[in-house]
Structures are given as structure tokens and as C-alpha cells.
């Protein structure tokens, strides 16, 4: 967490909406991506991010650890995703089709391997339910440690580990391999 972000969070907690807007503009693209991965629907993801950010503003004074603002808004957004998924369980989910050719980036070292990996990961993500996808997203995309993923999803740590292990097995990944996590993974908890 940068000093600047900490300052913005403190100001937003005092009711400074401009500070909150600055925080939101810096986070919304990745929140949108996380929600798309979980819900596999752009419109539903938009609803989830909006709901998560609305709750973030409204409940900001209840945030126990301002340094964990990033983790907290991901947590709110993922919970909003799960709420939406639960409410709309009876409706068919419109799966957003991403053309494989669009996934190919020319700078990648081995395009054929990359495409194969993406097809593999996409297939596994499709077969998981929203909670299973949330585990993958919170751990590998957001970078939360598994203990915090368990807390966020209100699941026992053992359940998170076993579900993750099964998903990784489908991706032919050894779950015991050390994992390089994205930048802001750290201990502690957000409210």
C-alpha cells in the first residue's frame, strides 16, 4: 500500500468523495476482470462491481484496517458476485464467448502453449461453480493467501484447499508447487 493510497483511504473514510473516486478509478478495471472471471457474464459483472463499490463507499467507516482497502473491495465485489449468482441461479447464465484468436498475444514466448493453457484453464473455470471460481480468482488473480480466501468466502480452510487442489488437478498442476502471487498478497484480514 502506498502512502498516497493510505492517505486517500483515510480521506474517504472522513467522507471525502473525491478521494474515494480516485481510489475507484485506479481499481475498477481489475475488479471488473475479477467479476467477469467469476460470473462469466459482462453485464452481471458490471452489476457486481457497482454493488461492491457502492457498499465500499457506504461502509467505509467500518473498514478495520485501512491498509487492506484493496483486499477489502475485492472481498466486497466477490461477495456481490456470489449474491448475484445465488439470486439468479434459476436463470440461464449467458456465457461470454471469447474468441481464442483474441487471446493470443504476439509477445508470448510460445503462442501454441499459451493458447493450449488458456483453453485448459478456461475449460476448468467453466466447469467450476461461482464459489470454486472465486477461490481461483482470489488466490491467483487477486493474490490473497488461502487463509484469507477461506475467510472471505466463509469456508473452512480445508474446504478451500481441497477445492483448489481438485481444480488444479484438472489443470494438471501439482498443488504443492510454490506459487508466485501478485503484488499485494499479505497476511492480516480486512473487515
Amino acid at each position: 500500500v502506498t502512502v498516497d493510497q493510505r492517505r486517500l483511504v483515510d480521506q474517504a473514510r472522513q467522507g471525502d468523495h473525491d478521494a474515494f473516486a480516485e481510489l475507484v478509478r485506479g481499481s475498477i478495471a481489475r475488479l471488473d476482470t475479477a467479476a467477469r472471471l467469476i460470473l462469466r457474464d459482462g453485464e452481471l459483472a458490471r452489476d457486481a462491481v457497482q454493488d461492491g463499490l457502492f457498499r465500499a463507499w457506504r461502509d467505509l467507516r467500518g473498514l478495520r484496517e485501512p491498509d487492506r482497502f484493496d483486499a477489502w473491495i475485492y472481498r466486497l465485489t466477490v461477495n456481490a458476485c456470489l449474491d448475484i449468482a445465488r439470486r439468479r441461479r434459476r436463470r440461464p447464465i449467458e456465457v461470454e464467448i471469447v474468441e481464442i484468436t483474441e487471446l493470443l498475444a504476439p509477445s508470448l514466448p510460445d503462442p501454441s502453449d499459451e493458447v493450449a493453457d488458456r483453453i485448459l484453464v478456461d475449460g476448468v473455470m467453466r466447469r467450476l461453480d461461482e464459489r470454486g471460481r472465486s477461490i481461483i480468482v482470489l488466490h491467483y488473480f487477486v493474490g490473497l493467501p488461502l487463509s484469507e480466501v477461506a475467510s472471505c468466502l466463509d469456508l473452512p480452510l480445508g474446504t478451500v484447499k481441497s477445492r483448489l487442489s481438485r481444480a488444479l488437478a484438472e489443470m494438471r498442476i501439482d498443488a504443492h508447487e510454490p506459487v508466485p502471487l501478485p503484488a499485494f498478497a499479505s497476511g492480516g484480514s480486512a473487515s
Binding site: 457502492f54 457506504r58 461502509d59 493453457d117 501478485p182
Partner: protein
């Protein structure tokens, strides 16, 4: 399992590629929405505002009552119970008005921002208020002659409402508290002269306190009880002499204690003995009290526990015996309320952030029966004749009606409502029955 860290190492980047869509074009719309919304004061978050130091510190020890004292008290209680049985036998005790069974009058509800009433069969629907502002939380007085309600400037007026009282037909409305900040559901005194409620203040949204207001507006609302103690969800006793509420210390975890005090704020007495870190389930953040006096005034129902596991307890209102659980399970049980005769209880059961199911049980918690699923968070309301319970379906699923459920036949009378949902405040998802004398 075949070891293949290659994919795992690339997983963050693969996920980014799979999930990235067009640059979000809704940033301005969500910021416009948040700009029009007030932040909730931190006292509404109860345990979540605690520091890590407070959370990791051991809870203050509960003072133990000597075994000898417990033994003497148990013998006294046994003697009293035997005496009561010999005197009363199995005859049901008739509760004096305005408690006990009564005739069901109209049901009040919020429709399109105004207070409406309808007969219990859904007929005769009509508005009884037409003034400016969005109305919420209609609540008939115990004798059914008057009605209290909130008025918000708009559906986005999070926190700030005015509290008004009118005749049962909506005429003669007067504001009795123009500054009802983050108000908890009020309760009427049995004689209809007072309203008791919890609220914060314009100058200190962080502090919940107990207020008593004259329902005829003859005197301004006054704070009662310890001005330095945090207090939420006050409810007046059936005899009008005492107030039950939750007292807590925001600097100390597991400090919620069901407490009673005299109506003037004196003689506060802690009733619950357990170490409770949270109360009221999801309902607490929606203005639902979670405290209910039995109609005869001898017992109090309340929901408490941890943020993720709460149970419904009943405790002796005199403070002699500790609370005991009457509804428990892996989910949260909360928003319990007595039937008018005191023979049954209704309560919510559900996950913390999910919409709850409604259960009805005998007064001791036995014979639980699920009545309805996926409801909004406002406490279920019994009809005065005890035949019907009014509920509001989850507004996200069905914003279109309230439902009156016949407990004997399971028949449902739907009453259509237009959406005026007030986010996380006592608002459109609230219903109140008018109580009329028995013929």
C-alpha cells in the same frame, strides 16, 4: 497428479487475459450514485470497527455467581414454580389489553413512498398519507388508534429521517422528532403516550443512544440512560415501566449485553451472561431490533452470538436466571418475536449476508416449522388474532408485494406494492397490523 508448474506460474496472466473485457464505462455512474449516498456511521458496524488488538485480547471474565447462591435461587424458583402450578393449573392466562389476542384490523405498509392500509384479505387498499417525502416503517400504536412512521427526503437519504405520528386514518400528522438519525425500529408504550427508539444525532453519528419521545409532540425527545454508553435497539416493556436494549463497548469485543433499565434511564441491569460479539443478524443493519418482550412481560427474546453464528435466546426479565437457547443451528437465528398470546415464536434463519427463511415454533423453541423462504430482513409481524404472519419477499427477487400467510392453511394473500426500497434503512419492507378490541 502430474506436476506442471508451467501453467500455474502463468495462471495470474492467463486469468487476466480470460477476464479482461472492454474498459469499464460505468465508473461515472457508480460514482454519481455513491456521491448521493451518505456513509454509515461506524457504530452500525458493531464488531467490525474493533481494532485487532481488541479482537486478540482475551474477553473480560464473566463474574461467576457462587454455587451456594445458585442452589438457593434454584430451590426458591422450584418452590415458586410449584406454587404457580397449584394456583393456576393448566388454565391459559388471559393477558390484559393492549396485549394478548385481539381482533385484526387493517395492515399498514409502504407503497410508492406513502403509507397505505388494506384489510387482511387484501381488499380496501388505500393511501393514508400523501405528503412530500418517502415514508417508511409504519407502526400502529398498541390500541390501534394512531400510527407512527418515518419520512425520508428521498430514497437516498441514508440515515436522516423524521419521525411522525398521525391518527390511524393518516389525519392529524405531526413530526415528533425531526432528526431521527439512523433510527432503530421504535416501540410504543402500552398507553400510547410515548415512543422509545434508538438513534444517533446530527452532531455525532457515531453514537447510538436511547430516546423517549411524547407521541403528542408535547415535549421534545429526550435521551435516557447513560449518555456515555453505546445503546441500540431499545424496546419498552408491556407494563410501560422498563426498557430493554443492547449495551456495548466499541473498544471491547464480545461486550454486547442485553440490559434493562427503568423508563427514566435509571437502574440499568445487565440480563445476559454470555459473551456476545454481535447481535441482530443481518437485521441489525436494517433497523430491526432483535429484542422482544413476552406479552406478559416476564421474558425477553433476543438474537446474539458471533457475526457468523447467532442463536435466539430467552431470558428471565427479572435477571434471576441466565439466558437459554431456544433456536440454534449452523446458520444465524435472529429477529425473534412472540405471537400475541405468547404461546409461539417466529424467527429468521439464514446465512449472514443471505435473505432469511421464516420459522415458527412453540415458545420453548420446539416444533419448528419453516413458513417462508428468501425474505427481506424486517422482523416478521404477527396479526393480533395470531392467525397470519406478514412478510416481505426479498426485494431483489420480487419487489412487487407483501404477503400475508395464513398459518393454519398456508394460504397467501398478496398485497401489491410499488418499489420504494430504501437501502439498508427501515423502509418499504415494513408492515404493521392494527390491533382492535375483541368483540
Amino acid at each position: 497428479v502430474n506436476a506442471d508448474p508451467r501453467v500455474e506460474n502463468r495462471l495470474p496472466r492467463i486469468l487476466t487475459d480470460l477476464g479482461t473485457g472492454a474498459t469499464p464505462d460505468y465508473t461515472d455512474s457508480i460514482l454519481a450514485r455513491t456521491a448521493a449516498t451518505r456513509q454509515r456511521p461506524s457504530w452500525m458496524f458493531t464488531t467490525r470497527l474493533l481494532t485487532m488488538t481488541a479482537i486478540t485480547s482475551p474477553a473480560a471474565p464473566v463474574r461467576r455467581v457462587p454455587l451456594r447462591t445458585i442452589g438457593i435461587a434454584a430451590l426458591l424458583l422450584l418452590a415458586l414454580a410449584v406454587g404457580a402450578l397449584l394456583t393456576v393449573g393448566n388454565q391459559p392466562r388471559r393477558l390484559p389489553p393492549p396485549y394478548g389476542l385481539a381482533t385484526t384490523g387493517v395492515v399498514s405498509y409502504v407503497n410508492d413512498g406513502q403509507i397505505w392500509v388494506a384489510a387482511a384479505d387484501g381488499s380496501g387498499r388505500r393511501a393514508i398519507t400523501t405528503t412530500a417525502g418517502v415514508k417508511g416503517l409504519p407502526l400502529f400504536s398498541r390500541d390501534g388508534t394512531r400510527i407512527a412512521f418515518l419520512t425520508y427526503a428521498s430514497v437516498f437519504s441514508l440515515g436522516h429521517a423524521s419521525l411522525s405520528v398521525a391518527d390511524a386514518d393518516g389525519r392529524g400528522s405531526m413530526v415528533i422528532d425531526p432528526d431521527a438519525y439512523f433510527i432503530n425500529t421504535p416501540s410504543w408504550s402500552p398507553d400510547g403516550r410515548l415512543l422509545v427508539y434508538g438513534k444517533a444525532s446530527a452532531t455525532d453519528e457515531e453514537a447510538g443512544r436511547v430516546y423517549v419521545a411524547a407521541s403528542d409532540g408535547s415535549s421534545p425527545p429526550r435521551l435516557v440512560g447513560d449518555p456515555n454508553a453505546f445503546a441500540v435497539a431499545p424496546v419498552i416493556s408491556p407494563d410501560g415501566t422498563r426498557i430493554a436494549f443492547f449495551r456495548f463497548d466499541p473498544a471491547r469485543p464480545e461486550s454486547f449485553q442485553l440490559t434493562v433499565m427503568d423508563i427514566d434511564g435509571s437502574h440499568a441491569l445487565g440480563l445476559s451472561r454470555g459473551a456476545f460479539a454481535d447481535i441482530g443478524g443481518a437485521g441489525m443493519e436494517h433497523g430491526t431490533p432483535g429484542i422482544a418482550w413476552s406479552p406478559d412481560g416476564t421474558r425477553i427474546l433476543f438474537g446474539a452470538g458471533s457475526p457468523d453464528d447467532q442463536d435466539v435466546f430467552v431470558v428471565d426479565a427479572g435477571g434471576v436466571t441466565p439466558e437459554r437457547v431456544i433456536a440454534t443451528g449452523p446458520q444465524l437465528e435472529y429477529a425473534a418475536t412472540w405471537s400475541p398470546s405468547g404461546s409461539q415464536v417466529a424467527f429468521f434463519r439464514g446465512e449472514r449476508f443471505d435473505f432469511p427463511d421464516l420459522y415458527v415454533a412453540a415458545a420453548d423453541g420446539s416444533s419448528q416449522r419453516r413458513i417462508a423462504t428468501h425474505l427481506s430482513w424486517f422482523t416478521p409481524q404477527w396479526s393480533p388474532d395470531e392467525r397470519v404472519i406478514a412478510v416481505v419477499p426479498n426485494p431483489d427477487l420480487n419487489r412487487g408485494e407483501i404477503r400475508l400467510i395464513d398459518l393454519a392453511t398456508d394460504e397467501i394473500v398478496p398485497i401489491p406494492i410499488a418499489g420504494t426500497y430504501i437501502d439498508n434503512q427501515p423502509g418499504a419492507d415494513t408492515v404493521s397490523f392494527q390491533r382492535l378490541p375483541l368483540p
